[in-house]
Subunit: 507 residues, 2 copies
Amino acid sequence: MFESAEIGHAIDKETFEAEVPALREALLEAQFDLQQQGRFPVIVLINGIEGAGKGETVKLLNEWMDPRLIEVRTFDQQTDEELARPPAWRYWRMLPSKGRMGIFFGNWYSQMLQSRVHGLFKDAVLDQAIGGAERLEKMLCDEGALIFKFWFHLSKKQMKTRLEVLQDDPLHSWRISPLDWQQSQTYDKFVKYGERVLRRTSRDYAPWYVIEGVDAHYRSLTVGKILLEGLQNALNRPKINPDSVNAAPLPSSVDQLSLIGSLDMTRRLDKDDYEEQLITEQARFSGLMRDKRMRKHALVAVFEGNDAAGKGGAIRRVAAALDPRQYSIVPIAAPTEEERAHPYLWRFWRHIPARGKFTVFDRSWYGRVLVERIEGFCSTADWMRAYAEINDFEEQISDARVIVVKFWLAIDKQTQLERFQAREAIPFKRFKITEDDWRNREKWDDYRAAVCDMVDRTSTEISPWTLVEANDKRWARVKVLRTINRALEEAFEKSDKHDRKMKKDKQ
Amino acid sequence: MFESAEIGHAIDKETFEAEVPALREALLEAQFDLQQQGRFPVIVLINGIEGAGKGETVKLLNEWMDPRLIEVRTFDQQTDEELARPPAWRYWRMLPSKGRMGIFFGNWYSQMLQSRVHGLFKDAVLDQAIGGAERLEKMLCDEGALIFKFWFHLSKKQMKTRLEVLQDDPLHSWRISPLDWQQSQTYDKFVKYGERVLRRTSRDYAPWYVIEGVDAHYRSLTVGKILLEGLQNALNRPKINPDSVNAAPLPSSVDQLSLIGSLDMTRRLDKDDYEEQLITEQARFSGLMRDKRMRKHALVAVFEGNDAAGKGGAIRRVAAALDPRQYSIVPIAAPTEEERAHPYLWRFWRHIPARGKFTVFDRSWYGRVLVERIEGFCSTADWMRAYAEINDFEEQISDARVIVVKFWLAIDKQTQLERFQAREAIPFKRFKITEDDWRNREKWDDYRAAVCDMVDRTSTEISPWTLVEANDKRWARVKVLRTINRALEEAFEKSDKHDRKMKKDKQ
């Protein structure tokens, strides 16, 4: 994989200087075109051998192009705000918006490679990390992002020479190298695991480019030309994300049975039972949130449901159990300009709670496979791939000990009609009912089918859907609270078991 | 000041329960109206005596109103990202957007009071903090924000009784009190300094409300009614920010002399001198940025100037001296939807660099007194008050050791014409020239007057303007770099002096 980057590529000064002016002009033009179109972001990942010219090349790109449209990001030490959240959060918060270019030093690849080289984990975990990187990049590309991955390479002999030169250079000697590259063993391991990573993650949508780093002219010109060609291709593509789905369309059910249809909508609680059970579950919830094991976790509750199913009321009963400083509620409406300039999951990553905290999403990322699917706000390809992307997303946050509970509050069509009419009659509830609500109601069957598909495809062991019979608000509210409490208890028990096992293993 | 909050206000249960339903409905209605109008944010500050029902009241407000439109923020321990920036940054990042309500526990008042009670500083510094709070609130209100400041009060005797009750309550005993309230001395000091703070910061635009905290019914009903009345008043006001300026309009100059006019526009550098001096200054800059004293500072460079004055080129020469990981460049164009939903300084606070870092603003907050003034994008009152707000802002960041350098790149009208024409002729520069540029050119004299006013009012000792004669690009670039270098050196020397003094004082 690295052979052709150890053969001494070089370009003489005259050729270099003759080629650069035209390349620069073309790069600048492409960059402004990128900004004008504002259709997609560009992400450049910088990896490779120490001393192979990573920093120098990025510096040169900033000189050649307009640095006002480039964001260079380093990911060294995590801040405490980053440490309190799932690992991918730090990358999501730094994603460039459409029309801009982000250059990522110290990205997900450097992190997995360093951990493997230092023996923090074995190949199996490295492969998991590789899989995660693949899924992330595939999703970013499907959302329109243009990704370049550069591996700057040197042979071991070249590296040693280069490090000696750098050590004597006062402009460079201050740099601290993340791995001890002086050791010959480090180089061997880094190249070995690097090969594994490149082999597995070089994909048509985001290929690796291995650049021999010895000769600055060769290195710079090669990177510049790859960037230019990739940019021009992408800018001239008529559409980022062609609406072609290779998979067959989702099958419609051959009988009349469905999960939603099988709910017992007559479930109810009388007032006395309700008040007793509500208070019990609220007290239990309040206690669990103060449990010291909660400090290792975070909680995310997703509320979806038919219009007028009582999401707001249920959320208020959940919130009422807590001190308002413990939770935040994120209502999801149409995305803002800034949110539209990023992949659709970006706006949710922004609100992922820190450890010990609780976030309620009043509507959520599932809008993609519900309203966006039905109203045609995204293409079929977009929502078809969303199921897997959402599962990936929830797995990532679950892995970081975020407890995810998801509710679909279901009412029948008649109940909805009655509630709509009641809302229109009460002054302070009139804000809750709009033309859109009546329009959505006409698409009742489409929503029902979309909900069934959603539950089938995203109710997973790590974050199952809870369907809530919500014709009776009391029943629904108690069921929601009880489900959250069970999820917290299960998570705490699992943590306990895990901790006991770790302790035992140590002895 | 607190006398009437120690007389045992109370409301019986029947009266309370009779009044609450109507109050809740009205609050909900006001809240939805607030969201629908989306004209202004509401900020509620919660302060006062421990045990006086601060948390309980906020919890109740979340139950009465729609918690999806309320953000409750606590400001306890600063995170490391917050510690690396000026103190006010943590408040700015948490400001609610227009149409929403933010409840701030542990706000700027708690911080100054705790520091004073604990003897971290004396009255003079407390007064400085008070002045800062006043200026911040005035600015927020001028930008349309509605601010409520609640002081929950108890007499010393009442507090002692209440703390005993709370200690026995398992739902409350887990709370850690920020000050040791058991000590009678703490109460006395807190009330004494609290009185000083309230006296000085109770203003027509943001008055304090002192609430006796003993009786829950009285406390809740009072707070609810104050909020409701304030909300309704503000919602019915035809315009947030009436365009009335009490001050006389800015005087126009009685002679033809002006700062801009007095620049020697013939200044130039020949190519050899330029190349030598540029490299010298770039090397000096690179060295200064790596100086270990830089770790205590941050650097902000503001670039303003006539269209085609060469801001971009100057920024690139500055950036070229550094590793791209050290700086970020923030181009300021029209604000996004999210930015428009906040006070105008919010978008700049977002980008204030952490310690050790450098941010270039390509255009800046001075847009308020330049393009916004001239194009009428804001009212006269808005830009007239902006001078003082900007000075406050720069003082705040300077106080946190952020070095601020500001450049106005000036060219004459003929030079601009030549550059416009040249840009139109070169393909990869055609993006740089738009209809707007030609239109702005027609307002040359207006811009000139606005620039003179701006420099007169915002060139301060802590962050002076540097006017750069930019007809010759070479001269301009070297002057910019040299000015930055001098500013860094001066700041380092000042730090050294300060450190030596501190050391001496300790001995």
